[in-house]
């Protein structure tokens, strides 16, 4: 028992095909997920070079980014979106790839669909032309976003060329306070380590805070790894992982499942595992967190004021001032009470059933503030159905939220759901970049789904702890 390799290195080793001339590794990809935005040009590469899909059964396609959440009748009103739909339909048909299309009840945001179907499993390497592929690391898989050329690489060879990152243990211990959610943990880590703190690293999230989390909570944390610069983040598989996977459509069954579980658990980092770096945080110190700026590290606890310019290094002050100007905020301003125009609940970060339950618990018996447009976009058709079975749609609608169909929606606004002008949006998504939510001058405040619901009801950034 002298194997001190962490999970990342164990999984990396069994997927390493060979070392390339550049020194990079040719890495086998166990599960490839594709969607309509970053795949069309990859299929064009295959056609141009006369290549086929090497392992079509190891790729799954769905549609999410451009999907309208109101009128889904075909052809779409947006001719460009319709063209992308036809493109992925044709590509999947011609290359023999399974597609969860709009008419399939399993359709949804790609990072919600994979886990939901039991496709995402511990010990796998997972790639997708989307940076939030890190979500799947919640299962103890190595999962990362890739570009379109690499999508072509995976289609044609089931491998990619990649350099091996270092592994940093990100430890969070202590009891989270009431009203503090996994999103707050993720935002807190990014606030402390910065948006580029994780570049060159894979993150292992460990400590009792993650041990206690449900799989959905772990997915939220791993999803945000890339926002801290880490292309990949994971949690070691445990009983929670195995219980989640059991019985899902693509999970192994019976004796196969038992053998799978044994292998999965064997991959977890041992207690004495080696890491290239370790950082620790006190979970009990985390507050409900809200971003105030134009990248996900620019956040404060809801009871805090915005930082002063002088509290940043001289090098950083230019960027901070740019963020304050864009957001029309000033240093030392309280974040609480900041007026919002739009509330968005959804995305691969927080569009799962537990997120909708948490938001609905706040919305229940309350009304969305006058002048606020609030929408709930479930992450998948199955999440949507589950929520409706639980009556959550009625809770939201009674409160004045719009209840929409599944997709990425206003997280990146490639569909008709967009901010207008200088609107401020309380959002459960993952990026507060300039223009991210569809208006070139729109403003985004990232927070947990419960905090979004609280902001929707009060018309301004609020402390959800007072509403639980």
């Amino acid at each position: 028992m002298n194997d001190r390799r962490n999970l990342f290195n164990k999984v990396w080793d069994v997927h390493s095909v060979r070392t390339l001339a550049s020194g990079q590794t040719q890495l086998f990809i166990g599960l490839h997920l594709i969607h309509e935005v970053t795949s069309p040009q990859a299929f064009s590469i295959l056609r141009d070079r006369g290549l086929n899909v090497q392992y079509p059964e190891r790729t799954l396609a769905t549609v999410d980014h451009i999907i309208p959440t109101e009128n889904q009748s075909r052809p779409f009103l947006d001719v460009l979106a319709e063209q992308m739909m036809s493109s992925i339909e044709r590509n999947c048909r011609e290359f023999g790839i399974r597609l969860f299309n709009l008419d399939d009840h399993r359709q949804g945001v790609v990072h919600i669909v994979g886990p939901e179907q039991g496709l995402t499993q511990p010990g796998m390497t997972i790639a997708c032309g989307d940076s939030h592929t890190s979500t799947h690391g919640a299962f103890g898989s190595i999962a990362f976003g890739i570009g379109t050329s690499q999508v072509a690489d995976v289609l044609a060879t089931q491998t990619i060329a990649i350099g091996k990152p270092l592994v940093r243990k990100v430890e969070v211990t202590g009891a989270l306070r009431r009203g503090v959610f996994s999103k707050d943990v993720a935002l807190h880590i990014i606030r402390r380590l910065g948006v580029q703190g994780g570049v060159g690293f894979a993150y292992e999230y460990s400590g009792d805070v993650f041990d206690r989390m449900t799989m959905e909570e772990r997915m939220t944390v791993c999803n945000m790894s890339i926002e801290g610069g880490a292309r990949c983040g994971y949690v070691n598989p445990d009983r929670t992982t195995i219980d989640y996977i059991k019985g899902r459509p693509f999970a192994p069954r019976d004796a196969d499942f038992d053998r799978a579980s044994a292998w999965w658990l064997s991959l977890a980092s041992p207690k004495n595992a080696e890491f290239d770096d370790i950082v620790s945080f006190d979970g009990s110190a985390i507050e409900p967190t809200v971003t105030w700026g134009i990248n996900p590290s620019q956040s404060v606890g809801v009871t805090e004021k915005l930082p002063t310019l002088a509290s940043f290094s001289v090098d950083d002050q230019k960027g901070i001032q740019e963020a304050l100007n864009y957001m029309e905020l000033t240093e030392q301003q309280p974040i609480r009470g900041l007026k919002i125009n739009v509330a968005f609940i959804g995305s691969c970060t927080n569009g799962r059933i537990s997120d909708l339950r948490e938001a609905a618990a706040i919305a229940k018996g309350r009304k969305v503030a006058a002048g606020v447009k609030a929408l709930v976009v479930p992450g998948s058709q199955l999440v949507r159905q589950q929520a409706m079975d639980e009556g959550l749609d009625k809770v939201f609608e009674a409160a004045g939220f719009e209840w929409r169909s599944a997709g990425c929606s206003m997280c990146l606004a490639m569909n008709p759901d967009k901010l207008q002008g200088r609107e401020v949006c309380a959002s459960s998504s993952n990026r507060n970049f300039k223009g991210r939510q569809g208006s070139p001058t729109g403003r985004t405040l990232l927070m947990s789904p419960a905090m979004v619901a609280a902001a929707a009801v009060n018309g301004c950034v609020s402390d959800v702890r007072e509403m639980l």
């Binding site: 069994v14 997927h15 390493s16 095909v17 390339l20 001339a21 550049s22 020194g23 040719q26 086998f28 166990g30 069309p40 040009q41 064009s44 590469i45 056609r47 141009d48 070079r49 290549l51 392992y55 947006d78 460009l80 979106a81 063209q83 992308m84 493109s87 940076s131 990362f144 379109t148 050329s149 690499q150 690489d153 044609a156 060879t157 089931q158 990619i160 060329a161 580029q196 570049v199 060159g200 890339i226 610069g229 292309r231 196969d256 053998r259 292998w263 230019k318 960027g319 740019e322 990146l412 606004a413 490639m414 990026r431 970049f433 300039k434 223009g435 991210r436 569809g438 070139p440 001058t441």
Partner: protein, 227 residues
């Protein structure tokens, strides 16, 4: 100073008019060695420039990368009349000078595609986000690192003379502009790939096909966990 410009073939040919899968015609047998890249400089010394800013998501509603060049930094440019990409001094510029963590955020390859199609041939920055970096190298777009102080000095040299030719030397690991030189470095695997003409990763990956099936067979989940 004699400068040999051996930029990738893809920068010298007209773009295909049919569905262009990438800026480069990806023919593994014909990748050019990229050792030195020259062009005038475009200073954009900001940190954490994300790929949403480089190419806003609404322009990703496409099935080719054609036409992305004209929309590069579109929203930033509309809100900043002095944006370097609109500055007449920097039109035709090929060497982008940026700050820390350039290209963070979304994995969209549309970002380096848009920059290349605008005319960018190399980027010098304090650091790069990982996915953007990998995407760029695979397109033959060198991304080299330089210290912040060097970047500020280089930007000042360019500001004083925007027509000055800036040369990124991947072999000598430095950037030259006029009589000045600036130490720079590039991740070794990328340097090796670019300078030896081995940046068509697909071609190399295809060569490993037999090894791939050997590795796949050994993975318990590929065989469905059957004994």
């Amino acid at each position: 100073m004699a400068v040999s410009v051996m930029s990738a073939r893809c920068f010298e040919i007209p773009l295909p008019t049919t569905i262009a899968n990438s800026i480069c015609l990806k023919e593994s047998f014909d990748m050019q060695q990229i050792r030195q890249i020259s062009g005038t400089g475009v200073p954009l010394l900001l940190d954490d420039i994300d790929t949403d800013r480089i190419i806003p998501a609404r322009f990703l509603r496409c099935v080719t990368f054609e036409g992305l060049g004209e929309h590069v930094f579109e929203d930033d440019r509309k809100q900043d009349s002095k944006h370097p990409f609109d500055d007449p001094c920097h039109q035709g510029g090929g060497i982008l000078i940026a700050g820390r963590n350039f290209g963070c955020g979304s994995s969209r390859e549309h970002a380096p595609q848009a920059l290349i199609r605008w005319g960018i041939k190399a980027i010098i920055a304090e650091s790069f986000a990982e996915i953007f970096f990998g995407n760029s190298i695979g397109l033959g777009l060198p991304c080299v690192n330089a210290k912040r102080t060097e970047l500020i000095r280089l930007a000042a040299v360019i500001a004083a003379n925007p027509t000055l030719v800036v040369t990124v030397d991947l072999v000598g690991q430095q950037v030259n502009a006029g009589h000045e030189s600036f130490p720079s470095e590039i991740v070794e695997s990328a340097r090796r790939s670019l300078t030896t003409g081995n940046w068509d990763f697909l071609g190399q990956l295809l060569e490993g096909t037999s090894d791939v099936s050997r590795i796949a067979e050994k993975l318990p989940y590929v065989s469905g966990f059957r004994q």
